[in-house]
Amino acid sequence: MNAILTDIRPGETAPATTFIEFEQASITYGRGAKAVQALAPTSLKIAEGEFVALVGPSGCGKSTILKMVGELLAPSTGHVFVAGREIGATPIRIGMAYQNPTLLPWLNIRDNVMLPLKIVPPFRQGYRSKRKTEYRDRVEALLAQVGLGGFGDKYPWQLSGGMMQRANLCRALIHDPDLLLLDEPFGALDQFTREELWAIMQDLWLSKKLTVLLVTHDLKEAAYLADRICVMSARPGRILDDSPVALARPRTIDMTFEPDFVALNQRLRAMIVGARGGTGIVNHAPGAA
């Protein structure tokens, strides 16, 4: 019946459908002599349901790419297509989470997570009637999935950094987005909390199968979570390398110590050190990151 629709909107049986496409898209801030090119013309394709990580030196335009996909920035030149349409005209739902959890301090965790349901159609139409029943259950279920069951009545200031970040992920996912944008979401957490959240993030992704774009400094994080890792150069950012991560799912922390994983990490690391214009000396200090 809707054969035409399935042509436009990628069906579940066609996993390789392109969901995000950059076509020679670039970003330049400022004008004239002061103009700074943050992102060199870049082409990139991301398939629906893919988990892609962007890594690279600071200020290389990783977050710029994220903002373009999230329709917060328009490309200076070139085009960005999401779900087959140029950005700005995309009817898709997007979730976003930053390193700073930005939970609203005057709302408890449940209401914080519920915020997108109040704003995003079609949920917003039923918000008034369903917020105490259906939506509430929906939030509780998601909170339970990330290990925050029973914390709905707490306020953000009563939670630890890791718990706030879990709530932040829930807020980014509650409205069933087609696309999740993560900008160093685990950057401010201690190592053990971070590893715990990697596992949670992987579970969420495996259960929802949505497209995820992750910006991170942490190569281990990228290799643990992503299907594909794009390495970017220093400003103006370019994609230097785009390689799949051939590790089985679900991945575990133990796998991060296996030779394949370590080799991948080392290769990525060498590339970023090169991109920063670093010397060989940095390479001999494995602790420096």
């Binding site: 903002k67 999230g70 329709e71 917060l72 997007i94 979730g95 976003m96 989470a97 930053y98 700073n100 930005t102 609203l104 301090p105 005057w106 915020l115 997108p116 109040k118 704003i119 995003v120 306020y155 200031w157 009563q158 807020r171 980014a172 409205h175 944008l181």
Partner: protein, 260 residues
């Protein structure tokens, strides 16, 4: 239990200080033999307060009325201007210099203009109270709205939230602690405004009563007027503090956690 005794100690100390000041005042006047034409003793002031109460009461009512009305209008205008200036960078850059210039005019100086326009009486007092309390509210509300975290704004924009979605769900609630801080300043300023206007041009109100009392050298009554103003000011300040605690308790809770 420790916290309860701590509160008692704090409150006890401030109460003792207030009583101490009055006792010192009383004793100082008695021992130095200061005439009540210069500085009446607190007991004389209270006696005057009781003696003239039927005459003071309508004036108190008038001052309270002009202050509250002026304050109310000022709050509405201040809030609207604050939202406008805070939510648009263009409006902020355009209107801020004008606002600063406007606020640096001593408000007392505009009272004669209001009198010229509206005649002596209630209206200049209301307008002075209004104009004096707009500025702190505008500045605070605009600051509260303009300082929403950019990340949070990005999150809202990716949800395709409209401007009014962002205003009602994020900016306004976030500006509430700033707004209430401004209200507490504004209500005391509003009293200054209405009393000054009454002093200059009115035949009613505490300011006017104090003018008349001082011209007939009834100094205890002048001070009784001051006491009434202080009482009104403190009462409204406390009232707004209580509302503030209820509405923006989330902004003050952090200290509770730290001390728990």
């Amino acid at each position: 239990m420790e916290r309860v005794s701590e509160i008692i100690r704090e409150k006890g100390a401030s109460t003792a200080l207030i009583i101490g000041v009055f006792v010192f005042w009383e004793l100082f006047c008695l021992m130095a033999g200061i005439s009540d034409i210069l500085l009446p003793r607190p007991t004389q002031i209270i006696a005057a307060l009781i003696q003239y109460w039927p005459a003071i009461w309508p004036h108190t009512w008038q001052t309270l009325y002009t202050t509250i009305v002026g304050f109310g209008i000022g709050v509405v205008i201040g809030l609207l201007l604050g939202i406008l200036i805070g939510s648009s960078k263009l409006a902020y850059d355009t209107a801020y210099p004008l606002l600063v210039g406007f606020s640096s005019i001593p408000k007392v100086a505009v009272v004669p203009i209001f009198v010229l326009w509206y005649g002596a009486g209630t209206v200049p007092a209301i307008l002075t109270a209004m104009i004096i309390c707009i500025f702190p509210i505008v500045v605070n509300v605009a600051t509260g709205i303009a300082t929403v975290e950019p990340e949070l704004e990005d999150v809202m924009k990716t949800l395709k939230a409209s401007k009014s979605d962002i205003l009602w769900n994020v900016s306004l609630p976030r500006a509430m602690p700033y707004f209430f801080a401004a209200l507490k300043v504004a209500i005391t300023l509003a009293f200054v405004g209405s009393v000054v206007a009454e002093t200059v041009a009115s035949n009613r109100g505490i300011g006017n009563m104090m003018m008349i009392a001082s011209s007939s050298f009834n100094v205890p009554l002048v001070f009784a007027g001051l006491f009434v103003l202080a009482g009104l000011g403190v009462t409204l300040y406390v009232l707004f503090s209580l509302i503030e605690r209820r509405v923006t308790g989330w902004a003050h809770r952090k200290t509770d956690v730290a001390s728990a």
